[in-house]
Every structure is written in structure tokens, then in C-alpha cells.
Amino acid sequence: MNDRLERALTHTAHEWTPDPPDISAAAARAGLLDVAYATVDSPVGRLLLARTPRGLVRVAYVPPDGEDAVLEALAGKLSPRVIAAPRALDEARRELDEYFAGARTRFELPLDWHLIRGFGRRVLEATARVPYGAVSTYKQVAAQAGNARASRAAGNALGSNPMPIVVPCHRVLNTGGGLGGYTGGLERKRLLLAIERGQPVLEGLG
């Protein structure tokens, strides 16, 4: 049965297209926004930024097939209460913008280290102390994390850095001076090192 009245009900109901209100601010006020995220454009490509009430928890290079896998991992590891809330990432976005413009040499926003623990975390904490424009080696950060012989494990920890750029794993190179690896691909690593050497970024990556 699909008569005139039913068609009218369906038709009019589907004509309403106002955007529903954004609930992220209310969720944050109610203490229910466990993971807020936003995506931003940068000279090294599109980034996904995520934070918890404790601080920035994730910076991810958005893969070509989109951010779904990154969000699913956050839901699984932290909390399924993951909501797009661009305003909650304003501070992180501002510091990153300043960094890419060469106007910031240190990140000051609070970090939430919950995505990595143990030796890997100590490696990343050592990495976070490598100054802007300087470089270190896998061996050195491994030693600072408490095990000079674990440079391979240090490399793995850097490869799964949950906060690249902000925790500057791009500053860690092979002991022989080779570039080593990078979570976002070597082209990005080169570009970040170039920015820190004061070389203007003429063209960003896609």
C-alpha cells in the first residue's frame, strides 16, 4: 500500500535538510568526549590530530584510503567515544602551523603518552629531547632509553611513534649517517629536516 497520504508523509519528511546541531562541545562539557579529533592540511600532507582530556595523543599521516583505520585503532585502544571536534584541537593546530612556518622550535601542548609504554615510550621520551634542527641516532636514543644495544627495538618504537612531528622521530638517523626509516615515508622525513634547517618549503607533499 502506498497511497497519496503515505507518499506525502515520505516526501515531506525527506525534504527537511537542516544540518543537525554539533554535539561535541556538549559531550566535552558532560565529560563524555574521551577522544576528540580533527583533520588538518599541512606541508607534509593531511594530518589527523587526536586528543584526550589529558593532552594530544595521536598525530597520524592520513592514509590514501582515509582516516577510518586510524579512528578504529583509537576506538579500540583508548575508548570508543571518539568524536570529530575540530575546536578541541585548536591549540595543536596552532602550534603545528607555527612549526611549519618556522616560527616554533618546541611544542608546548600537553601530551598523553597512553598509546605507548615500556621501552618504546622511553625511546620516544628521549627522542622528544632531541633539539630542533639537531639530529640523533637510533643507537643514542636506545642508550638514553636504557639499552644501548637495542637500536633495532628503538627503530621499531620510532616507527610506531603515535605522535610524529610533535615527538620528532624524524630527527633520529642511522648511526652511519643514513636517513633510516620514517613512519610517513622518507620524503616527509627529508622535508621536516629541511624545514628545521631553515630551508623554505616551496611545495608541500600531497
Partner: protein
Amino acid sequence: MKLPPFQSLLDAHGRDVHRFLVATVGAVDADDCYQETWLAALRAYPRLRDAANLRSWIFTVAHRKAIDHVRRRRRQAVPVADPPEGATDPSPEPDEELWARVRALSPKQRMALALRYVIDAGYDEISAVMGTSEEAARRNVHEGLKRLRTEYET
């Protein structure tokens, strides 16, 4: 229990939940009910046992908020004074006439009609959302249509 990021529910069902609430409580109150719905869902979400049918789950929450709202309104239904000077109605929705008449039906009929025609729910989903038998869901839709038809098609 592996639950998808909450945002995927908002993306998939946010607009439909909003339209359901406009249909059942009216455009003026829909935004408040919408926020209440999603906050209640967000609060309960990590404890959810079954992620198989998230649409029915979120509409169960929205239905409950709409019913609460209708009951609250009914309790407050004292004779109203003239609207205060300068008060303006929000711009009328294109549905105004027909759906205003739906909102004048019994709560069960209006909820069933909204689920049926706003989100194209089948009787199985209407019964799941409203916590009734499928037979009752069917009856609510048909009785509601009958009431409307006496006005609409004469």
C-alpha cells in the same frame, strides 16, 4: 566487544535522528532532544553488548527522549499566555501542516508513523525501537494513517 568510533554513528545516523525528532517533537524542540539523545547514547556506548544493529539502538534512545519530551509537555500543558512581545517563530518547516497533524496523534501513533516514513523502518524495526510487538507496530501505523486520512483525503 569491538565498537566502531562513535563518530561513525553520528555520520551514519545523525541526520536521520534529527529528522525523526523534528517529525515527533517539532522543529523548535528537536535540537534539545537531539543533544539529549546523543549524550545519553554516548554515555551508554562503551557498555553496549551488541554492535550488530546500531541504527535500531540509537533510535531506541531517540524514541525514549521523544516520549519523555511529549510527557513533559503534556504535564506542562497549562493554558498559555499570549506569546511575549517580539517573540518570533523559527522559520516554518515545509512539513508544517501534515506533520503538525501527525504530532497531534497519540504518542504511539506519531512515533510509529515517524519511524515508518522518516527513516523507512520496517515493522520489525518499529517494534524493536518502540518495545512493542510487530502486530502493535503495524496497528499503530495503520490507526495513525486512518486518523490522518479522514482529514487529508476528504
